[in-house]
């Protein structure tokens, strides 16, 4: 009889057959799950690519998971719980909310499973190492480039993804503080937050441009914000110096077309790679650096196709 039980059984059996090979390997290979803040976004896929590369180079098994959106704190906790149940050699974790994850992180520590934090990291002293971009220094570089391109004086504005996350705060402060210290004639007239949403950031940009007819430059602090700034300027037909952050097909195209002067790129592939590398070291009981700087670059039309830059950009 065609019952749901038989069908379910068949599906599960197929799933197990399909993944049986990797499962069998899991018995003798070191297993390291990475629990990320996201999954579908191209940035996270680039981190995953780096993690997979390290897994192949170092002969370990890596899985990569993250919730659908960065608000789903509880879903991330469930993923962490399932990862712990698999008795991993070490865990890579990018916390959405470090406090909420604390009971499980403590459980990992008690079970002597080393935790390597990546991207925005994990607060507290549980992680043995943190692999992340120095966002403050990276945003300061964006400020220097902006000042250079607008002639070291005039009005600029920022569209940032949010005011609560570590990356949002660091990129904003890195940019603003560098301007104040090194470029006193540049005035920051507005800092707005668009949740990294293309459309919201576009609307915000248009409002800022309407309010400031003499604005010379804008900084978009992540991929969505930067695209929003480009779109807003385009819709109003305004010419100004736009500096973005991260990459993605649209942003790369805007740089090639000259709508965007340039952008800061992190090294997401490097974040994934270094996280797995540190996790393997920690699992073997070797010493690991407390903070691993995964690096950043400024890229524009002139160097976008250079091999070292192209390697860290993603579509």
């Amino acid at each position: 009889m065609f019952t749901r039980r038989t069908v379910l059984g068949a599906i599960s059996a197929a799933a197990i057959l399909g993944y049986g090979s990797s499962f069998a390997l899991a018995q003798d290979k070191m297993y390291i799950p990475l629990i990320s803040k996201g999954f579908q976004h191209q940035f996270w896929q680039a981190v995953k690519a780096g993690a997979d590369k390290a897994a192949a180079d170092l002969g370990v098994e890596v899985t990569f998971e993250g919730p659908d959106s960065e608000t789903q704190v509880d879903r991330q906790i469930d993923m962490l719980a399932a990862a712990l149940a698999k008795k991993p050699a070490a865990i890579g974790f990018a916390a959405l909310d470090s406090q909420a994850a604390l009971p499980l992180l403590q459980q990992a520590k008690d079970a002597k499973i080393p935790v390597v934090a990546f991207d925005s990291g994990v607060e507290g002293d549980i992680p043995v190492s943190t692999a992340s971009t120095n966002n403050i220094a990276a945003a300061a570089l964006a400020a220097d480039k902006m000042a250079e391109l607008i002639g070291d004086e005039g009005k600029v504005a920022l569209v940032v993804h949010d005011q609560t996350s570590r990356t949002g705060i660091d990129r904003r402060d890195g940019f603003v503080n560098r301007m104040k210290e090194a470029h006193p004639k540049v005035e920051i007239v507005a800092i707005e937050y668009g949740e990294g949403d293309h459309l919201k950031s576009t609307e915000i940009t248009k409002a800022i441009l309407q309010a400031n007819p003499d604005l010379k430059g804008m900084f978009g602090a992540n991929e969505g914000s930067a695209i929003g700034v480009v779109n807003g300027a385009k819709e109003l037909g305004r010419q100004l110096v736009i500096i973005g952050y991260d990459s993605g097909a649209q942003q790369k195209q805007a740089i090639r077309d000259g709508q965007m002067a340039g952008a800061i790129t992190q090294n997401p592939v490097g974040i994934g790679y270094k996280t797995v590398e540190a996790a393997v070291k920690a699992a073997k009981g070797e010493a690991v650096e407390k903070n691993i700087d995964t690096g950043f670059y400024y890229y524009d039309k002139t160097n976008i196709d250079q091999p070292d830059i192209a390697a860290v950009l993603y579509d």
């Binding site: 065609f2 019952t3 749901r4 039980r5 069908v7 379910l8 059984g9 599906i11 599960s12 059996a13 799933a15 197990i16 993944y19 990797s22 499962f23 899991a26 999954f39 098994e61 899985t63 990569f64 998971e65 993250g66 659908d68 959106s69 608000t71 789903q72 704190v73 509880d74 906790i77 469930d78 993923m79 719980a81 399932a82 990862a83 712990l84 149940a85 698999k86 008795k87 909310d97 406090q99 909420a100 604390l102 009971p103 005011q163 609560t164």
Partner: protein, 331 residues
């Protein structure tokens, strides 16, 4: 009042879902068996507790959704209402520094108030439930962000708060069974709601509204009042879900919640409750919620790639509803 007629409807509903319940239960057992055979890490106390804990919030939300769905309605606001109630608890406990009991009460009352409002939109203003609760979903999402100042509210000033979900009363009596209180609360809510549905007049009218609202109204019953009562009860259950999730995260996360209504509705449907109303059980919903969590956890334990996990879950939902249709055609 047609008490006999509605009793008839109730027993009919139970007969229908009795068979489905068995089917759903068998699927759950089959899933558990398959995952246990596939990985030694699945059937372990700590993992079973992780699964139950992951079920607690969605299970309670699904119970709330079940009530509304049995009346022939739908509640899209359960997820953001949960968040709203969590934020209200945060305001009372963290911003105002009041004792734990007030926070618990405020969350449940906020849920009941919001449910009453949704119910009034549906019953009195005749706004279709899909639209009324879609509107409420967005309103509550926005209000949660406004009230919290778009930041998570932490409960560090109320140390007992995390115990609501993370503590273990059962574990303190039987140390071998460290079942978290959140899971205990899920089962208590299930038992209480089941009792209301099967044994009280509110329950009878819940089924009757879904089967033939017009007939009930023509027999002289104030259907509007009962409908509002069902939405209010569902709302207060969302309040309990809000306490569970914020206690588990030690924080009210104001941006979370949208999308959670879909998981709740999936659990209801897998559990054999009819989306056209008049038929359904709480135990079915509970099993539906467990199937979703077991599936999510098991696929993770087997290291199935994340993009495939959602494909499998979606397929299971469609299969579940299709077998239900097949089975009813045979009856």
């Amino acid at each position: 009042m047609s008490a006999t007629a509605s009793t008839g409807i109730v027993s009919m509903g139970s007969k229908f879902s009795g068979a489905h319940r068995l089917l759903a239960f068998a699927s759950l057992i089959a899933l558990i068996l398959v995952f246990s055979l596939a990985s030694p890490n699945f059937m372990q106390t700590s993992n079973i507790i992780a699964i139950l804990q992951a079920t607690s919030v969605n299970g309670v939300l699904a119970i709330a959704a079940t009530l509304v769905i049995i009346t022939g309605g739908i509640d899209l606001s359960v997820g953001t209402l949960m968040t709203f109630c969590a934020v209200i608890a945060g305001v009372v406990l963290t911003f105002w520094g009041m004792p734990l009991g007030f926070g618990v009460l405020a969350a449940i009352l906020a849920g009941a108030a919001s449910g009453t409002l949704s119910g009034t939109f549906v019953a009195k203003l005749k706004i279709p439930p899909f639209i009324a609760t879609l509107g409420m979903m967005l309103i509550l999402k926005g209000l949660s962000l406004v009230i919290s100042g778009t930041r998570p509210i932490y409960f560090n000033g109320t140390p007992g708060f995390t115990q609501i979900s993370q503590g273990s009363l059962i574990g303190s009596v039987f140390p071998a069974l460290p079942i978290p209180n959140g899971v205990l609360i899920l089962f208590l809510v299930a038992i209480a709601t089941s009792f209301i549905l099967e044994r009280t007049i509110l329950g009878r009218f819940t089924f009757a509204l879904g089967s033939n609202e017009e007939a009930v109204r023509l027999s002289g019953v104030n259907t509007d009042r009962w409908k509002i009562a069902v939405y209010a009860l569902a709302g207060s259950i969302c309040g309990i879900a809000g306490l569970l999730i914020s206690s588990r995260l030690n924080s009210a996360q104001p941006a979370l919640g949208q999308g959670y209504e879909l998981d709740a509705i999936a659990a209801v449907v897998i559990g054999g409750t009819s989306l056209s109303g008049g038929r359904g059980t709480i135990i079915g919903t509970l099993i539906g919620a467990l199937i979703i969590s077991v599936l999510a956890n098991g696929l993770r334990i087997l290291s199935v790639a994340q993009e495939w996990q959602t494909v499998v879950t979606g397929s299971i939902i469609i299969l579940a509803v299709y077998t239900d249709i097949l089975r009813r055609r045979r009856l």
